[in-house]
């Protein structure tokens, strides 16, 4: 599962551009739809500031957000 570190996120939407299942929404802030997310990790890989992390066994949104 993917979690967002709000402090590092620059809201550039690079993660949105590569998400294959449209699970990421950038509105006032970045949110990940854990129902849609397939955990492919593309977003975490391309985030230029490293604001997204893959976390084992936790739903998106849990942990630091």
């Amino acid at each position: 599962m993917i979690v967002v570190d709000k402090q590092s996120c620059d809201q550039c939407a690079t993660c949105v551009a590569v998400c294959p299942v449209d699970a990421i929404l950038l509105d006032e802030r970045l949110t990940i739809d854990s129902g849609k997310c397939i955990g492919c990790g593309r977003c975490a890989r391309v985030c230029p500031f490293g604001a997204l992390s893959e976390v084992c066994g936790q739903p998106a949104g849990a942990g630091k957000e």
Partner: protein, 386 residues
């Protein structure tokens, strides 16, 4: 919630969307320009370099936007061999924030309504009666929609487009502005090499005085978590020690083919949202301005008796394809080959360029000399370019 009615809704207030709204409103339609941010042009996620040709017939370049006139292009190979070429095209580094503020003022003067601070979360068809654009607290109805929302290109997915970029077709980038006495005036410098920026490059564009835009792009495939930022900070420390660093931002740059089709029903895709980009130089401003202009113009012309005729929007794609579209396709083929160039090859190219007078040599002849030693690589290039 009462819906506001427009003929044409432009979503995204970057250079593409602003110009699209200007031309659409100039064509006599009721137009809105919707942006997520409170004001246009901020933050800038860009190197801000553009050739004079890129403005041609789209917007008039204002002298007050110019931060630096680019007289030289420099390429630094992986092992540090520098090739300097006088810039044969008139080019500038511009203040994009100022440019976009001025262009927005022009759009509003032409009659477009600028709706700021509004994030559209969905666009849906109203079954033959145009489209509904929804934000969290407002609804906008329009006959025709121009999507210029930038690289994320998410709303297009609501309407059946597949805009998700493969990791081979995106550069993950970090940008900063620096002040340092080592910045070379009037020069755009590119640094190549897998150690500096795997699958991409670092750029340093003079931006007036002792300041420069410094940026770095890494190919998605070669990227690891947070790599662009780390590499950019390392680069600045190495080349510009003690520099004052500001405006650190990041972003994604599409590096694939432009999306086909560009039009579905009454919806048009433009700019970064349509993945319009020169895949070799990473130049996107000119493409954004041009696609915005033709999208806006064609959208306005498609109205007959107050109704948008979607079948008339097709000329947008034809015009795009025959001008920048063709150029992008070529640049994409070249990029595909360049990604496979080993660092030693790039060093060879640079070496042969410095041995000869670069002024008299064409880029092509430099490459031909370098390929001479590697016929298999040449074969690959020819196959890809066909």
């Amino acid at each position: 919630m009462a819906a506001r009615q427009f003929d044409i809704a432009v979503i995204g207030g970057g250079p593409c969307g602003i110009v699209a709204a200007t031309y659409a409103a100039g064509g006599g339609r009721k137009v809105c320009l919707i942006d997520r941010k409170p004001s246009p042009g901020h933050p800038v996620r860009c190197g801000e370099a553009i050739g004079l040709k890129g403005f041609a017939s789209t917007v008039e370049l204002k002298p007050e936007w110019i931060q630096s006139k680019i007289s030289y292009m420099k390429l630094v190979s992986p092992s540090g061999i520098t090739v300097t070429v006088p810039n044969s095209y008139e080019g500038y580094v511009v203040d994009r924030e100022r440019m976009e503020k001025d262009l927005t003022t022009d759009a509003v003067a032409r009659g477009a309504e600028f709706i700021a601070d509004t994030s559209i979360v969905s666009v849906s068809s109203r079954n033959g009666d145009g489209y509904e654009c929804r934000s969290r607290d407002s609804v906008i109805h329009a006959q025709c929609v121009i999507l210029a929302e930038g690289v994320e290109s998410r709303l297009a997915r609501n309407l059946g487009w597949s805009t998700s970029l493969s990791l081979r077709d995106i550069h993950s980038c970090a940008f900063a502005r620096i002040a340092h006495d080592g910045v070379e005036p009037g020069t755009c410098v590119f640094y190549l090499g897998v150690k500096r920026a795997p699958g991409g490059y670092v750029w340093v564009f003079h931006r007036g005085g002792n300041t420069a835009n410094v940026g770095l792009g890494v190919l998605g495939e070669s990227c690891q978590k947070g790599m662009p930022r780390t590499l950019l900070e390392d680069f600045i420390r190495e080349k510009f020690p003690g520099a004052r660093v500001s405006d650190l931002h990041c972003g994604g740059v599409p590096m694939g083919r432009w999306i086909r089709p560009l039009v579905r029903g009454g919806v048009m895709l433009a700019g970064d949202a349509a993945h319009m980009m020169n895949c070799v130089s990473g130049a996107g401003i000119a493409y954004a301005l041009y696609s915005g202009k033709i999208a806006g113009t064609v959208a306005a012309q498609s109205f007959v008796n107050g109704k948008c005729r979607p079948e008339m929007l097709g000329s947008y794609q034809d015009q795009w394809a025959s001008f920048y579209g063709k150029q992008q396709d070529r640049s994409h083929a070249i990029k595909e080959v360049m990604v496979g160039f080993p660092d030693v090859f790039l060093d060879d190219v640079a070496r042969s360029a410095t041995k000869n007078c670069a002024r008299k040599m064409s880029i092509l002849s430099i490459f031909v000399k370098a390929f001479y030693k590697r016929p298999l690589l040449l074969l690959k290039v020819v196959r890809l370019l066909r």
